[in-house]
């Protein structure tokens, strides 16, 4: 098979002096699915931006369809037939699907007016041609993220993309949306397109890709047929050492009940019952995992336990203190910590420095401020220590949190939450969108917390994560608990599935050890 794209000896040094690609070479076969894997900061995105003409390397060349190209800007790449689906989708939220599709190449009526009817028609046609269903006249902001991504893919196809670059396309998707995306990508390949996608989820890569390029520390380690590689092998190449992906060992023996939730119900402003009579306990020295399709009440449950929402009924107690009505700070004072599910929304202040983010929940304590004056000198040392201990990649402790990569931002959150010396840890989606190395670190930290006798309540959409870490698992569907698994050593995602979908249900299931 011929190569649609060849990258030869690319070296890219940013003006700041950071080397992002070092002597990178790679061939992409026409009509294949080619995955580029690597940890955050390995240089994957830089390489994509070089190919797409966003940045220009100091050395090396890019050959597209056998010809040497150097796109002045992405518009030239698009004209040549390269389309990119960014991780943060490039869509205008208040415009319709059709308007987003034709933006920049608008069909006209007369010489002046926009041909809106034709725009809808064009969009329908493209959507039909590639079998990607989208509601053409709906506004983007009213669509789920998976559908938005489909619009983005269609946008590229409409501009005659033959090579489609996807930057971590699954990081924002639920497992089910991911399935649909994969089907789409396979269909596109069969219709003659070439797909180049960045990922750090190995199961995806293994399932989808024909060829895999592994990058580590600004270099290409290898490019091989996917069939020659196992997930473990890819992980090893990516990180440069073995990764432990098996289930963690069982805890010694769990201690006292730290968190007790009893008959909890929540009704939202629209009078929809979100949580129904939820009861469970979390004990010291165990990890209780809660599995469920996202949007079945998990977010509200976390918000209630952390003092951000008030329940309609029921009680929540931490070490026998009723916490309903307490403020988040009062709850934190009970040695509760909270890794929120959306790190950008609730985890960090992205414009604030790491130092400020580290002390945001404890600045008022005598350690950090005296007589109303904050001791920045001490905080700096404190922060540098955290950065070191949690292996956070940053220029300095004064860097804005938003300037770090996703995985490192998550480590900032985890560092803050685990350094407050908590007894109860609420960990929601603790490794969402982070690379393998960071994921392993965070898993180790949670395991260590468990072994140190802390109680951990884990909420995750990633079933592998739930199955790997949980001592016990409860399954939530439509706001109530459908099943409890007390022995998790021998169960798989397939055992959880029916309960997650509410197809099966256990009578009077609850997460309590003693009823």
């Amino acid at each position: 098979m011929e190569n649609i794209l060849q990258v030869k000896n690319i070296t890219m040094v940013y003006p700041t002096g950071v080397i992002a690609n070092k002597d990178v070479s790679m061939d992409v076969k026409k009509n294949s699915i080619h995955a580029i894997v690597g940890e955050n900061g390995a240089g994957k995105s830089t390489l994509m931006n070089v190919i797409f003409g966003k940045i220009h390397p100091q050395e090396g060349e890019v050959l597209y369809k056998g010809e040497k190209v150097s796109f002045k800007n992405p518009n030239y790449a698009i004209k040549a037939g390269i389309g990119m689906v960014h991780q943060h989708l490039m869509l205008a939220p208040d415009l319709t699907v059709a308007e987003n599709m034709i933006l920049g190449i608008e069909p006209k009526k007369g010489k002046i007016f926009l041909d809106t009817v034709n725009a809808l028609e064009i969009t329908r046609e493209v959507s039909k041609k590639y079998g990607l269903d989208v509601p053409v006249d709906k506004k983007i902001k009213d669509l789920p993220i998976g559908v938005r991504q489909r619009v983005e893919i269609l946008k590229a196809l409409f501009r005659n993309a033959e090579l489609l670059i996807l930057d971590e396309p699954t990081s924002v998707l639920t497992p089910q949306e991911t399935e649909i995306l994969f089907e789409t990508l396979i269909n596109l390949k069969e219709s003659g397109k070439t797909i180049l996608f960045i990922s750090h989820k190995l199961s995806e890569v293994k399932r989808l890709a024909d060829t895999v390029t592994v990058m580590r520390d600004t270099r290409v380690i290898t490019t091989r047929d996917a069939s020659d590689l196992t997930e473990e092998k890819i992980a090893h190449l990516m990180v440069g050492r073995d990764i432990n992906s098996g289930r963690i060992g069982e805890p010694e023996n769990p201690g006292n009940i730290r968190l007790a939730v009893k008959d909890l119900s929540y009704v939202d402003d629209e009078n929809v019952q979100i949580l129904k009579d939820i009861s469970f306990d979390v004990r010291a020295g165990e990890i209780l995992g809660i599995a469920g399709v996202e949007g079945n009440g998990q977010s509200e449950l976390i918000s209630i336990i952390t003092g951000l929402l008030k329940p309609a009924d029921g009680s929540v107690s931490v070490d026998d203190n009723n916490i309903i009505g307490l403020s988040p700070r009062q709850i934190r004072e009970l040695k509760v910590s909270h890794i929120p599910e959306d790190r950008m929304e609730n985890g960090v202040a992205d414009m604030a420095s790491l130092e400020e983010n580290f002390i945001v929940d404890r600045y008022y304590k005598s350690e950090f401020s005296k007589n109303g004056k904050i001791n920045w000198k001490y905080i700096k040392d404190y922060s540098v220590d955290l950065i070191k201990r949690f292996n956070i990649l940053t220029q300095s402790s004064k860097t804005a949190a938003g300037a770090l990569s996703g995985g490192n931002i998550q480590k900032v959150v985890v560092a803050r939450e685990l350094s407050s010396n908590p007894e109860l840890i609420i960990a929601a989606q603790p490794t969402r969108g982070v690379d393998i190395g960071s994921e392993e670190l965070i898993h180790d930290l949670l395991k260590k917390a468990r072994d140190d006798g802390k109680a951990v309540f884990l909420i995750s959409a990633d079933l592998d994560e739930i199955l790997k870490l949980s001592t016990r698992i409860i399954v939530i569907y439509d706001g109530h608990i459908t099943k409890q698994f007390t022995d998790c050593s021998n169960i798989s995602g397939m055992d959880l599935g029916p309960y997650m979908l509410g197809v099966k249900m256990e009578e009077g299931a609850s997460g309590k050890i003693h009823s």
Binding site: A92, L103, G104, L114, T174, E179, V293, G295
Partner: protein, 331 residues
């Protein structure tokens, strides 16, 4: 009926509302264009002052209404372009740039006023022109309607026509689509080859264009001279009107009418024995109240939309999950 009420329920009052609304509607449309482009222009006050001044001066020295119109519009569009230059080329904060332009316009017009007339107060010593008023054939002979809608200055009709013009421009042309796309997600626009800075420049020039008509009306229709600071905060009330109207043509028209109504009331009450300072507060007070009410409503709507969206996602996802399981979840 009290004299105040009887004058409010007169056709003369309704006529006054349209008259008073005109110099609010133009700049409000100007603000709306800029807001839709994501770069809010708060220099409409300065734009109107400049247009009002140059219109009067050019008409006085050339005797041509057409040249005065061109000069006023050019002054407004130039101000918009200047703001774009500060904001897009020199990377200045657009609010700071606009504040500077407002102060510049205020000083500049007084300075030039003195140069041209030797007076720092107004151009009353000059013989300047005004735009004509128009009696609309047919309509003027209809009893009440005729008295309200006929006989206005031509620019009042232009203002009313500017609303559908704004709608067509923003929602029915490629330029409008691009302006809105740039305002909502500049990266998205950029990614499909749209020159974001160019679109914003156009939007700010359009903003200046709308504003200039408001300024021209003030000095060559509403009254027949230019006086210092004659905009009297209309450029700022226009921001409130645009926001209140959701930057949408009909909304902006309605909110401008509301402010026109309140201003007219203030003018009518002035004939009663009430301290004038109190009366002059009314339009601004209503602006504050209107914005507060609007903000509360917007928050409530936002909450609702957020919830609806959550539910939408949830159902969609569940449907998909079931589908996947049915068609071979084991594969």
């Amino acid at each position: 009926m009290s004299p105040l009420l009887s004058s409010i329920f007169s056709t003369g009052f309704a006529f006054a509302i349209l008259r008073v609304m005109t110099p609010l509607l133009f700049p409000a449309l100007g603000v709306a264009v800029s807001e839709l482009a994501g770069s809010i222009n708060i220099s409409l006050e300065g734009i109107m002052l400049m247009a009002a001044f140059f219109g009067v001066i050019v008409s006085a020295f050339t005797g041509s209404l057409f040249l005065a119109l061109i000069a006023g519009m050019a002054a407004g569009v130039m101000m918009g372009a200047l703001l774009a230059y500060f904001h897009l080329k020199m990377k200045a904060d657009i609010i700071m740039g606009a504040i500077a332009l407002n102060m510049f316009a205020m000083g500049m017009t007084i300075f030039l006023l003195y140069i041209f007339t030797g007076d720092k107060g107004s151009t009353s010593s000059l013989q300047s022109l005004v735009f004509p008023s128009i009696e609309i054939p047919l309509l003027k002979s209809i009893p009440i309607l005729g008295e309200i809608f006929s006989g206005h200055n031509i620019l009042t009709y232009v203002a009313l026509l500017a609303v559908p013009f704004f709608y067509v421009l923003m929602f029915k042309t490629p330029l409008g689509l691009r302006i809105r796309a740039v305002g909502q997600n500049p990266h998205a626009a950029e990614s499909v080859g749209i020159n974001v800075d160019k679109i914003k420049l156009y939007a700010l020039m359009l903003s200046g264009f709308f504003g200039s008509l408001g300024g021209l009306y003030l000095s060559m229709g509403y009254v027949s001279w230019f006086s210092r600071d004659m905009t009297a905060g209309r450029g700022f009330i226009a921001i409130a009107a645009a926001t209140l109207g959701g930057n949408m043509p009909l909304g902006v028209l309605l909110s401008s009418l509301l402010f026109g109504f309140v201003n007219s009331i203030a003018i009518y009450i002035a004939s009663l024995n009430v301290p004038s300072e109190l009366i002059q507060m009314i339009p601004y007070l209503v602006t504050l109240i209107a914005l507060a009410v609007f903000a509360m409503r917007a928050q409530r709507i936002k909450n609702r939309v957020g919830e609806i969206q959550e539910h939408f996602d949830e159902d969609a996802v569940k449907a998909v999950v079931k589908d996947v399981l049915k068609t071979g979840g084991e594969s």
